[in-house]
């Protein structure tokens, strides 16, 4: 017993000399997998994976740099809840990166719900507590391919809808440019669609889809026609929406949002068999006739069919008429001037 005590004191002395060792000291208990306490009749794990912590962006920091109220180890009292903004504030001395993200988060639906005492995520719920990694790190909790799972922890039905979509199919095929939750909903400033600043507001939906769908290289790679957003903006729906008529159809009105699927998929709202129903949401008399034709037509493209031929015919016809009439007028005027000179 006495020997053990000496050893303990020695260990303590050594452990206090450097951050790393101090962390070692914490992991003596917190590194044990089934370490925990019983709180309110429930077992609460207090385990921290040493391996994962050391792979995190905070690996160089001592546990006590955040848990500042732990002054002796082992600590007898429960440490205070800590917050990311303890370090990530403008002018901090530990070199913690400061971004606008916490400020953006404060405006979000999550922060507002949390402030009302509802169950909503803050930083740690997405970024984890001890294993924060850079988003581009494939093991990060906020790595692109993990985001649907992350958001789906709360938004379960939406997750299932999304897992049926072409966007998720793209991610699974390794096309990391395909959209996950955060690409449309944004990451930190997630706002409700009613908010005019929201990326999901009817006026902003087109811009949100447009971010990727007007990227020529990307759309070529995934085989989606890149002129669709452009053609939409030139359509009645697009023009009306641009001038504030928000009841006009935007992308999501026809394509759905979480379960976006290509027209070849029979489950898709834009599959020819489902178009009558989809258009029927706004145009009550729509029937199978609405499937007889092309969508997102640009007059200048040969694929547009009859629209292209009308456009091209009239383009040349108008030009010929213009030149013909103009020539006639010029000849008339030249003749008039010459005759006038002759008279004088």
């Amino acid at each position: 017993m006495r020997r053990f005590l000496y050893f303990a004191i020695f260990l303590f002395a050594v452990s206090q000399t450097s951050a790393q060792l101090r962390n070692e000291r914490c992991f003596v208990c917190h590194g044990v997998k089934n370490f925990g306490i019983v709180e309110h009749g429930k077992f609460k794990s207090l385990y921290v994976s040493k391996e994962d912590f050391e792979a995190s962006v905070h690996s160089k920091f001592a546990c006590v740099s955040c848990h500042v109220d732990v002054r002796v180890i082992p600590h007898l009292t429960k440490p205070q809840r800590i917050h990311c903004l303890q370090c990530h504030f403008e002018g901090n001395v530990v070199g913690a990166p400061v971004t606008a993200k916490p400020e953006k988060y404060k405006e979000s639906v999550h922060a507002k719900a949390l402030a009302k005492g509802k169950n909503a995520p803050d930083c740690k719920d997405c970024h984890t507590v001890h294993y924060v990694r850079k988003p581009e790190d494939p093991n990060s909790s906020v790595y692109k391919t993990r985001i649907p799972e992350l958001c789906g922890r709360c938004h379960e039905t939406v997750k299932e809808e999304y897992y049926n979509s072409i966007h998720w199919a793209g991610i699974q095929k390794g096309e990391l440019s395909s959209a996950v939750c955060s690409d449309c909903h944004r990451e930190h400033d997630i706002l409700p669609p009613e908010d005019p600043r929201s990326s999901l507001n009817p006026k902003n939906v087109v811009g949100t889809c447009d971010k990727c769908h007007s990227d020529v290289k990307l759309m070529k790679r995934v085989g989606v026609p890149v002129q669709n957003p452009e053609a939409y903006k030139e359509s009645f729906h697009g023009i009306a929406l641009k001038f504030g008529v928000v009841r006009a159809a935007n992308c999501a009105s026809c394509h759905e949002y979480h379960s976006v699927l290509p027209s070849r998929d029979p489950r898709s709202p834009i599959h020819p068999a489902n178009l009558a129903k989809t258009c029927g949401k706004c145009h009550p008399r729509a029937n199978e006739n609405v499937a007889k034709g092309k969508f997102h037509v640009l007059p200048g493209e040969r694929e547009s069919g009859i629209v292209y031929y009308v456009y091209t015919f009239f383009k040349w016809f108008t030009l010929i008429v213009l030149i013909g009439l103009f020539t006639h007028i010029v000849l008339d005027l030249i003749g008039h001037i010459r005759r006038k000179r002759k008279k004088e």
Partner: protein, 235 residues
């Protein structure tokens, strides 16, 4: 200008029709142009002064009703009134119009000493009339398809609406070309009419003007048919 004898060239009905056409087409062009060129500053300005996007549409439809009424009025006029049938016969294209066209170009380039003698309507005016006749039919038909798309959705295929839209927009461009270039030339900028031929308003032209521009009509008004024959009608 010495005081001249005035001749009534356009009847009241004819003038009312022109006035209705002028007002409706001008409104249709202004409101339609705003939609077609919505992404230019001028288009945005037009939409703004037309009271926003939806009011612009309502104005366009009101003007369309006016144009439709004018068209029906005109059809009744040319079918069921003596005066209208006579005017319509005068407007029908004839062989002489093609000859007149050649003569007029020859006169312009100095090959002919005298201009061709025109009847009540020269080939230039006939081009104007028939172009508009066709335009109004095309615009009304395609316009009806676009306006009543909700009713026609069950009847017409989707491509027909795209077709109508393309036709409506392309014909409109042609109408503007004709109006700005040809009609404004005929009644404003041609030397004998500059700055404006106001007969569309009061119906009167001077005898001098009629003699210069519609010699045969002038003869018709001033002489008996016998005299016209002697002076070489139908040369």
């Amino acid at each position: 200008m010495p005081s001249q004898k005035k001749v009534l060239r356009f009847s009241l009905s004819w003038r009312i029709q022109h006035f209705l056409l002028m007002v409706s087409v001008t409104l249709l062009i202004i409101t339609g142009f705003a939609l077609r060129y919505h992404d230019t500053w001028f288009g945005r300005f037009l939409i703004f002064i037309e009271g926003g996007f939806e009011t612009r549409g309502t104005l366009h439809r009101i003007s369309a009703v006016l144009l439709f009424i004018t068209a029906v009025y005109h059809l009744i006029y040319i079918l069921f009134t003596r005066e209208g049938r006579k005017e319509f016969r005068e407007l029908l294209p004839r062989k002489k119009d093609f000859a007149d066209f050649v003569e007029s170009i020859r006169y312009d380039i100095g090959k002919n000493e005298k201009p061709p003698m025109y009847g009540r309507y020269s080939y230039k005016e006939k081009i104007q009339y028939w172009a508009f006749f066709l335009f109004v039919i095309l615009m009304i038909l395609s316009g009806i398809v676009l306006w009543f798309h909700n009713y026609l959705f069950g009847i017409l295929p989707k491509w027909f609406f795209d077709f109508s839209q393309a036709l409506h927009s392309a014909t409109a461009t042609l109408v503007i070309t004709f109006l700005v270039l040809w009609h404004l030339y005929l009644v404003h900028f041609s030397p004998s009419n500059f700055p404006i031929n106001a007969s569309f308003w009061h119906g009167y032209v001077s005898e001098e003007w009629l003699k210069e521009n519609h010699y045969l009509e002038y003869l018709n008004l001033t002489s008996s048919s016998e005299e016209i024959k002697n002076k070489g009608y139908g040369k």
